[in-house]
Structure formats: C-alpha cells, structure tokens
C-alpha cells in the first residue's frame, strides 16, 4: 500500500486540523487510499472508495467512529475480529453512543429517530423554527452586527431540537443556558472526548423524568410519543436507551448544524453577487446549501475499524486497521466532481455528496439541518438588504482571517462576525 508523507499527522498537526483540504488533495494525488505509517491507519480521500467503506458494514465496524486514535482494547487475532470487538465493546472509548453502534442494535436505535425527521414532522416544527429564528434575527439586525455562530446559530439549533423532542417550554431556557456554556467540539484538540459531551449530561435527569411521567400518564404530546415508541420487534426501549438517544440528538445535531450555518454565511458574505442572487430567488437556497455541504460540510471525517480482512478498491486491508474516511476530501475528489474547488450552483448529482455520510450511518438529522438553514437564511434575507463580513474582525478583502475549530471531526468556524444593512 502507498504511504502518506511521514511528517504530517492528521490528528495533531494544527495547520492540517484548521485547513485539511490541501493535505487531502496531496494524499489523493498519491492514491485514494494511503497508509499513515505512524498510526496503523489508512486514510481514504477518494469519493468512490469512501462510499465503498461507508456501505460495507460486513467488514467495517463503527465502534471507533468518534475516537479513532484509541488503541484496541485487545490484541487482534486472525483475519476476523468481530467476536473480539463484541466481547470488548464496552472497553472502547465513546462506544455507548449511537454512531458507534453496529448491526441490528444500531438499526433498532436508529428506527426511533428516523420518525422524528420526516417531512410532516418538520413541517409541524417549522412555525416554531420561524418564531425562534425570527426573534434572534430581529435582535442582531437591530444591533447591526453579530457573531453569528454564538449569537444566532447555537441558540437557534438548540431550541429547535428541544421542540422536536417536545421538551416543555418551562425547561427550554434551562437547556439553552446550559448548552450556551459550550464546550470544545467533538474531535477537538482541546479537551477529552468526555469533556466534549459533558455539556449534555445535565439533560439526563430531565429526560428520565419526562419518560417516567409520560409512560405513567400518557398525554397528547411529542414526549408521550417519544417515551412510548417501540423498537421494530415491538419491545419497549429501556428508558436509559431513550435518554441516550435524546442527549445524542443534542450532541450530534447542535454543533454540526451551528457550524454549517457559519460555513454557509462565509460563502454568502464573501460572494455578494451570490448573496444577491439568493435574495432575489429564494428557491436557490437549497441548491446553495448542497454546494456548501460539499465544499464545507461540518463533519470533515468519520472512522471505521476493519473487523475482517477485506479490500477497499484493490487495496488489501487487514483486520484491526483503523480507516479514516475523509468526507470532506471525498467531496473534492476530481474523479467525481468537475473542477472540485469551485463553487457551482446545481452541479449534476450534487445530493450524492458525503457531507452526511452514506449507508447505515447516514446522518439521521440531515433533513432537519437542511430545513434549519433554509428557514434561517430566508429570515435573514427578509430583514436585511445586505450582510457583509466584519472587517474589524476578519480583515479587509484579500487579507481575510478565519479561525476554524482545531477538530479532526468538526469543520467549522470558531467565530464569524457579520454586519447588517437594514432594509
């Protein structure tokens, strides 16, 4: 197998963490799959090869998807280590969250979530989205400027998830306050994986109480539906599994959506002609967002563990090897995307980008993320005549400065300062 140059480490090199795209291009120019010799890992930057890995749940486990840098908690024996992974599953870091599940257990847990994001459910949620977004947007537009990730995106997506799960109004402010305290992004150089999820732990007693109450006294509300949802085999989930799902939705759906809004705003404020086109024809917003997802999706990579000796393309992969699937790299693979670095509205087959992954672990909240951004951009356009970057914070055109999260999982601006011209 071809090897990556040894002098750069994807997980710790600050420059690569902040801007992975050139590094991925360099690796892809060697081969779509290369070995990181120092880490017993391979990194996949080819589109076709990435899809192949994501769709292959026979040979690849997701058990290490959040913490790919961990050592195996056992010594792999032979060409099939599924049984060893299952025997040691609880010894893997962060293996108790949905994205790390495999097989039937994963499908069962996921079946409780897909029903939350259907078009009908999102339509029911849309008035609330508009209300929350409208309030936040009015506030920042009146001020004339804001830092859009913290001031708008984070509170907005937090309140929207709270509404989707049916959290009672009286508790929502508490949720918002706790989440606003923030924490490092998942996969960040700053803080441990546990720290990165700690800001969601306060929710556990709330959800335990909601579930107990709604199971004892069903009401006509979303929480009752959530508390009494059944697995595909007809069994009632353990309350703790439901709590884990609910906290996971906040954890997974909050930072990613908030960062996606920041990434979208960067495109719109750096290309005012594009902004003008979208303002005049709002039906272009979904196409705009798909291209943002391809070029600057908020999840840059996901990870798998080869649990059987297998192949990716024609490259042999031994059992026990960790695979980094560079979603953002695959999304700029010239073998799949013509002129991949350029922003083009309405590329053919654009929805096949891998910003939300593919296969069994496709981001379950993808319809929500799309709806959230569409609603918010529409409202921002309604209430302003132009949105521009703050030169005070990001420098003048040609000399812009942006700080991205130093995370190997999340791709997003730490801050984006924008200014508004009122109508």
């Amino acid at each position: 197998m071809l090897q990556a140059p040894n002098d750069i480490d994807f997980f710790t090199d600050y420059e690569v963490l902040k801007d992975p795209y050139r590094y991925w291009d360099e690796l892809r120019s060697i081969a779509p799959i290369v070995e990181l010799k120092s880490r017993n890992m391979v990194i996949v930057t080819g589109f076709r090869e990435a899809v192949e890995v994501l769709r292959n749940t026979e040979d690849f486990s997701s058990v290490n998807s959040v913490v790919p840098t961990q050592s195996l908690p056992f010594t792999p024996e032979g060409d099939d280590i599924w049984a060893q992974v299952e025997a040691h599953r609880d010894d893997f870091e962060m293996s108790s969250i949905l994205v790390a599940f495999d097989g039937a257990r994963h499908a069962a847990a996921r079946s409780l979530m897909t029903v939350l994001f259907t078009p009908t459910r999102l339509k029911a949620n849309q008035d609330y989205m508009k209300e929350v977004a409208g309030g936040l947007v009015a506030e920042v537009v009146a001020r004339g400027e804001c830092e859009v990730v913290r001031d708008v995106a984070v509170p907005y997506v937090t309140m929207v998830i709270a509404d989707i799960l049916g959290i009672p109004e009286e508790d929502r402010e508490t949720f918002r306050r706790e989440i606003d305290k923030g924490g490092p992004s998942v996969g960040s150089m700053e803080g441990s994986p546990e720290d990165q999820f700690a800001s969601f732990m306060f929710m556990i007693p709330y959800f335990m109480r909601y579930i107990e109450e709604r199971r004892a006294n069903p009401q006509e509300d979303v929480l009752t539906e959530f508390a009494n949802a059944k697995y595909p085999d007809g069994s009632l989930p353990d309350p703790f599994d439901l709590v884990a799902n609910a906290t996971f939705l906040f954890g997974a759906g909050q930072d990613t959506s908030a960062k996606l809004l920041g990434n979208s705003m960067r495109f719109l404020t750096e290309d005012l002609e594009l902004q003008r086109r979208l303002r005049e024809d709002r039906s272009l917003i979904p196409a705009f967002l798909e291209e943002v997802l391809r070029l600057e999706g908020s999840t840059k990579s996901t990870h798998r563990l080869a649990v059987r000796k297998t192949r990716i393309g024609d490259v042999e992969i031994p059992a026990g090897k960790t695979v980094i699937v560079a979603l953002g790299g695959a999304n700029r693979d010239p073998a799949r995307w013509e002129d991949p670095w350029s922003f083009q509205l309405k590329r053919p087959g654009i929805k096949e980008h891998l910003a939300f992954g593919r296969g069994a672990h496709t981001c379950v909240g993808n319809p929500l993320a799309r709806a959230e951004i569409r609603v918010l951009l529409d409202l921002l356009f309604d209430q302003t005549s132009e949105i521009t970057l703050s030169e005070k914070h990001h420098g003048p055109a040609g000399k812009r400065k942006f700080e991205y999260e130093p995370s190997f999982i999340i791709r997003g601006l730490q801050e984006l300062y924008i200014e508004f011209k009122p109508k």
């Binding site: 769709r55 749940t57 499908a107 996921r110 897909t114 595909p232 296969g359 496709t362 379950v364």
Partner: protein, 106 residues
Amino acid sequence: MPRLQVTNRAGEVREIRVAASQTLMEALRDEGFDIEALCGGCCSCATCHVHIDAAWAHCLPAMSEDEDCLLEGSQHYVPGASRLSCQLRLTQQMDGLKLTIAPPDE
C-alpha cells in the same frame, strides 16, 4: 427469515434472505444492491424507490402522505407498484415478495 426476489437496475434477478423487522431499504442496502437511500430512511429523498409486484400489494402497510408525495414526484412513479423501501418494514408474511429497484431520477 423472509425470502425476497429482487431485480436490480441492470435487470438481474437475485433471491435474498433477510431478517424480519428490518426495513426493506436496510435489507437491500446491506445486500449491496444499487440503491442510494441518501436521506438514510427519513422518508425525505425518494432514492430508495422500488416497484413491488402487484401480487404482494395486500401485505404492504398503507402509504403515508409524505411517501405518496415523494413518489408522485418521481419520474419512475408507477401507481399501485411504487413504494419507498425505507417505509416498508419486513414481516414473515412478505416471504417470497418480488420487487424491482426503480431507475434513478435525473
């Protein structure tokens, strides 16, 4: 374990055995068939569109408004046969079900 007879987009027929309680989309995807299922099963994209043999219509659950709406928008919509495979949970009664994976929309 119900058996399914699947015709892929190239017109090849293959019989598979699948676990009941999965969705048809999950079963097809895990067997490596050529469906994209881009939205991951949220009834939001219509890229898991299949045509179910008319003889099996009686074992299928009713269609939701969301599913109906997405299918009607597909270029390959066949009234009475078109379904989104992510919305069909497999049961023992579906043993022998015949289906064809619909061509992709442009």
